[in-house]
Structure formats: C-alpha cells, structure tokens
C-alpha cells in the first residue's frame, strides 16, 4: 500500500479519527489505539487550553499521532483565524482542521467563509485541512488557496448515511492534486471501504465509532475496511458487466465493413 503524504509528512494509516461523542476518555483512547490511526482531530473548544494536564488531551497525545486541532464552534473566517492562532499556541502544531459551520443544526460547512479562511491561514503558514461541501469547484478553489487536503463530506455530519455525495466525490478525487479525505457521514466500515475503492486518500470517522455498541471493535473494523478499500483501489477492481447490451439488428459500425 502506498503511503499517504500530507504536507510532506508520511502516514501509514489512511484512517483519521474524531474524538467527540465517546462515552469516556478511556474508551476513546482505546479506540484510537485499536484503529491504528496516526491523525486525530480534537475540538479545541473541548480542551482546557490553560491546563497542561487536561484530561481529554492526555488520552489523545501519543508519539505516532499527529494532533489535528479543529475549529469547530467558529462561525466565520475571522473567528477561524483567531481560533487557529490559539490552537497553534496551545497544541504546539500548525496543523489545523478548518471547520466553519455557522448553522448549529446540521453543522454544514460554510463554503464562502471556509475558502476565505483557508487562503489567510495558508499564508500564515498553517497546514490547513478544510472540512467542506462535496463541491468539486470549491475543492479546486481550496487547493489553489493553499489547502493541504480537502475534506468533503459524504453526508450530513453524524447521520451515518454513507456516501450520499458519491457522484461529486468521484469528480473531486479525479480532479484533485492534493489528498482527498472523505469526512462526515461515514456510518459503516463498508462506506469507508467504498470511499477508498473510489480512490479517496483517507477517511475521517468519528460518530460511527464513538456510538457503536463496542467502539474499540468498531475502530478495528474501520481500520480493516480502510485498508481493504485502499488495497482494492491499488489492485484495480474487476469487470462489471452492466454496459453490454444485446447485439443490435442494425449495428452502428456496419459502415466500416
């Protein structure tokens, strides 16, 4: 399996984990470790920024894991830039998952503000991984603005509905010159495998693991699904015989005979 490279850093694992919604920090930590992930996102609003001994953070920080602070809670570009600077200060990393959702109901990313913030933050030296709509044109704009990846959603966050945006994800993957990470909506390992088979570079999963009957087992299931999907993509899928139609009585190519 090829390694994933983001902003020059290599990752063996193509599964990113979110840290919200777990029933305890202990279960979260066990899930993180079981998943084999090397990239974990954490909402800076959840962390006691002044407290080096913050309980949640203690369960996330591991030597092999790239911490990815996210700006969840901010509502526009200005707030995001402010939050990003605080995150850099608090977590000691310039990696940032940019999330701007002014709407508290569906938590849908604001395309206009996300593009604006990406541009500014990239110029300020942040490694910006923006959560965004599955909008191919927006993704190209984000790429040009200096994003390190794009993170389009598969379905509304937390819905576990899978790749509702698959036709747009396909175009995004085809056009991208930076890694594409499918974020939000992935509810089952089969969804993650499908995204990886399509050629997505990674998946970010949170709710599906956090609220599973057994989160640690589910983390393993996602780990294996992401590996299986990626392997299948690299190996090349077999034939699907749905495009063949019965021979027509008046062939289109008879003029060539």
């Amino acid at each position: 399996m090829k390694k994933l490279i983001i902003a020059g850093r290599e990752f063996e694992s193509r599964l990113f984990l979110g840290t919200g919604k777990f029933k305890s920090n202990e279960v979260m930590e066990q899930s993180i470790l079981a998943s084999g992930t090397e990239m974990v996102t954490v909402a800076m609003k959840r962390i006691e920024l002044d407290d080096q001994e913050d309980d949640m953070l203690k369960h996330i920080v591991h030597p092999n894991i790239q911490l990815l602070p996210n700006t969840s809670g901010v509502r526009d570009a200005e707030e995001a830039v402010f939050a990003a600077q605080m995150a850099r200060e608090a977590f000691g990393t310039n990696w940032l998952k940019l999330e701007i959702h002014p709407d508290p109901r569906y938590l849908l990313p604001d395309s206009v503000e996300t593009l604006k913030a990406t541009e500014q933050l990239a110029k300020m030296g942040f490694v910006v991984l923006p959560y965004c709509q599955a909008d191919p044109t927006l993704c190209k704009h984000l790429e040009e603005a200096g994003a390190a990846t794009v993170m389009p959603l598969g379905a509304p966050i937390g819905t576990n509905k899978g790749l509702q945006t698959r036709d747009f994800l396909r175009i995004i993957i085809e056009q991208a010159t930076i890694p594409v990470v499918v974020d939000a909506g992935i509810g089952a390992p089969s969804h993650a495998a499908e995204a990886m088979e399509m050629g997505a570079d990674a998946c970010l999963v949170n709710t599906a693991i956090a609220v599973a009957g057994n989160p640690v087992e589910m983390a393993v299931a996602f780990k294996e699904a992401v590996v299986a999907g990626r392997r299948a993509y690299e190996a090349g899928l077999g034939a699907v015989s749905n495009n063949f139609e019965a021979e027509a009585s008046s062939p289109l190519t008879s003029f060539l005979n």
Partner: protein, 375 residues
C-alpha cells in the same frame, strides 16, 4: 510542467502493456463508468478490436449525454505558409522551394468576408507557420483584431508561445489555442523536427502548461497519426497529458485531434504507419469512453463517409470547406496546400450530410460579448 511527468513514463513499458491487454481488461474497462489511462490502453489495444460494436454504443451514449446530437463546425484560415521549421512531413518545410505568402491585413479581411459567404461560420481557426520575425505575436494579434467583427470564436494554431504572449492575445479576442505535439516519442520527435525552433521538444510539450497558466479557455491537443508506428503508445501519452492538464488547469476546456496522414501526402514523406478506418473508429470510441467531456475533432483529412458516419458516435467538432493554403478562399486560390484535403465538400454539403445523419450542425456556441466581461 508536463515534461517532468512524461519522463517518468516509459515508452517501451507502455507499448508492452498495451499489447499485453486481454479481452478481460477490455471488459473491465467497458464495465466502468469512468476509465483511467490503464483502461484507455485496453480500449485501444488489439484485444479490443472485436468489441467495436459495444464500444460504439457506449461512445454514442456518452456523446449524446454530454453533447446531444450536435456537431460544432469551424473553418481554418492559413495566414502564412512562411516557416522556419523543417518538419520532414510538412508541405511548408523551410527547404521546400515554394512561393511563400504572408497575408496582408487587407488580404486577411477579404478572406474573412469570403469565408462568411461559404456558410454561417462563427468559429474560425487562424493557422500560421513559425516565422516570428515576419508573422509573430503582433501580426497574430492584428489578425485577431480584424477577425473579431466577423467571428464570435477565434482560435489559433501557431508556434508555441510564452504564457504572457497567450495572455496578451486573449486581450485581442483569442478564445482558444490548438497545438499538436505531433508525437510524444522524444527521440523520434527530434528526427521529424531536425531544425528550427520546433526542434525543442520540451518547449513544445510544456507549451500546454503555459496556455493553462495564461488561462486560455480552450486547448486543443493532437498526435499526428503516421509518424510513430506505435500510435497506441503515442495516444496513451496524450491521454496522460490530458489528465494532467485537466487536474492542473481545470478551468480550461480540452479538445483532442488524431488526424491520419495520407500515404500520398506531399510526395516526399511516406507515413510510417497507416491506421485503418476500423482502428480510427476504435480509437475514437476509446477516447470518448475514457473521457466523456473532451471535444473530439475530425478534420477534412478524413474522407466524407468516415466523417458523416462518425458524427454522433464520438466526434463532436469538424472543420468544413477547408483550404489549407494561405489566402485559399479569396486571394490566392491556387497555392500549394499544407496537407491534402480528403473531404473536399463545400460547407453547405457537409451541413446537409450531417442533417441527413440526424445530427444538428452548430455554427455558433460562443458570443464575443462574453470576452468583454471583466475587462
């Protein structure tokens, strides 16, 4: 720049991989909604020859989904046959002792007027040899200025330019650029283009990056069939190039051309390979299945029956009523052609034939007023 990517792709290994493709590889490609270059290789391989009919169906389906039952028509105007290059296959070869013409601005305008009498042409392609001293960027800019009142869409097929030159020409109404790489086989490219500025392979192949950087709206690419025996490999390199450009310059529309040289063309140069009609059809279908949106253009080098029958099956743009000598429509109707036109029908006859095939000829799909937006 694409030259760096191209260096990573082995010509020999690609040729071997194409010949090693099996019936199963072809079926796999046909079963996919979106193909990659590897699938394209299967579809143009000899293994796909028995699949011509299913490929035609699929190609027709995708073409109708994206373009409907239409063919866009354009006409070329050769501004000059003056050229400092020595492409061994070309009628305008620098050592060819022929009368050289560079149309004056008055002659150009006469040509534009004469073209408008041949049909309601709105898509004009201006073609030059490579003589920057006598027919350089300023000359081309002036030709565009004079053409703009007559035509809504202007493309050029000239020597590769600098990015800033492409940009400058868009200020003069340029809508698109066509440039054939001719072949992606670097060593042989140098044999076919021994002297002159065209001898610089990298300058030509990276010209497409410069067009993209300049924000050219429409880029036409091409491989000349008859140069490389391994034309399948050449087209595979073009497919890689197309994908590369689409990723990097995603605002641009692309078209592809793969004209076949005729055996008798220009007396001197004999093509190294002759592509059969069936192979041309297979390649066209493969290109459409590989890329549902790319514009596939057939010139008047192709015979009428091929053009008529392929319209709707994958081809989306055609020239019609073309003269390939400078001033051939009005000023100098008897000059030496750059290449021989096989389909010599008048534009009106091409139009009638297309309609008979159930295809609508589209003369205009751009308006010059769009060029003014933002200026």
């Amino acid at each position: 720049m694409f030259s760096e990517e191209l260096e990573q792709i082995s010509w020999e290994q690609t040729s071997e991989a194409i010949l090693a493709k099996t019936e199963y590889d072809v079926m796999r490609a046909l079963g996919k909604e979106y193909c990659d270059v590897d699938d394209f290789m299967a579809l143009i391989s000899p293994a796909a020859a028995p699949f011509l009919e299913p490929m035609a169906r699929l190609s027709k389906k995708y073409t109708e989904e994206r373009f409907g039952k239409t063919i866009s028509l354009f006409i070329p105007l050769y501004l000059t046959n003056s050229c400092t290059n020595s492409c061994v296959y070309c009628g305008f070869h620098v050592s060819n002792p022929m009368k050289r013409t560079i149309l004056t601005f008055e002659e150009m305008e006469n040509e534009y007027k004469a073209i408008k009498k041949l049909g309601p042409f709105e898509n004009l392609l201006l073609v030059t040899g490579e003589n920057p001293a006598k027919a350089g960027v300023d000359y081309i800019a002036k030709a565009l200025d004079i053409a703009k009142p007559y035509f809504s869409n202007l493309k050029i097929e000239v020597m590769p330019l600098k990015a800033e030159e492409y940009k400058a020409l868009t200020e003069h109404g340029l809508n698109g650029v066509i440039c054939f790489q001719e072949t992606y086989h670097k060593a042989n490219y140098n044999i076919y283009h021994p002297r002159g500025m065209k001898a610089d392979f990298e300058w030509r192949v990276n010209g497409f990056d410069r067009m993209g950087q300049a924000g050219v709206h429409s880029i036409g690419m091409g491989v000349l069939i008859g140069l490389e025996k391994e034309w399948r490999t050449d087209l595979t390199m073009l497919a890689y190039h197309l994908r590369y450009l689409q990723k990097h310059y995603w605002r641009t529309k692309y078209s592809v051309n793969f004209p076949r040289m005729c055996p008798s063309e220009n007396g001197g140069f004999q093509p190294n390979v002759v592509m059969t009609d069936k192979e041309l059809a297979q390649l066209t279908f493969a290109m459409r299945i590989f890329d549902h949106d790319v514009d596939i253009s057939f010139s008047t080098r192709e015979p009428a029956y091929i053009r008529d029958n392929m319209a709707g099956l994958g081809v989306t743009t055609m020239s019609a009523g073309s003269k390939t000598d400078p001033g051939g429509y009005y000023s100098y109707p008897q000059q030496l052609e750059q290449f021989h036109v096989t389909d010599e029908r008048a534009a009106a006859d091409v139009e009638a034939a297309l309609r008979k095939m159930g295809v609508e000829p589209v003369w205009k799909d751009w308006d010059a007023s769009f060029d003014l937006i933002g200026k």
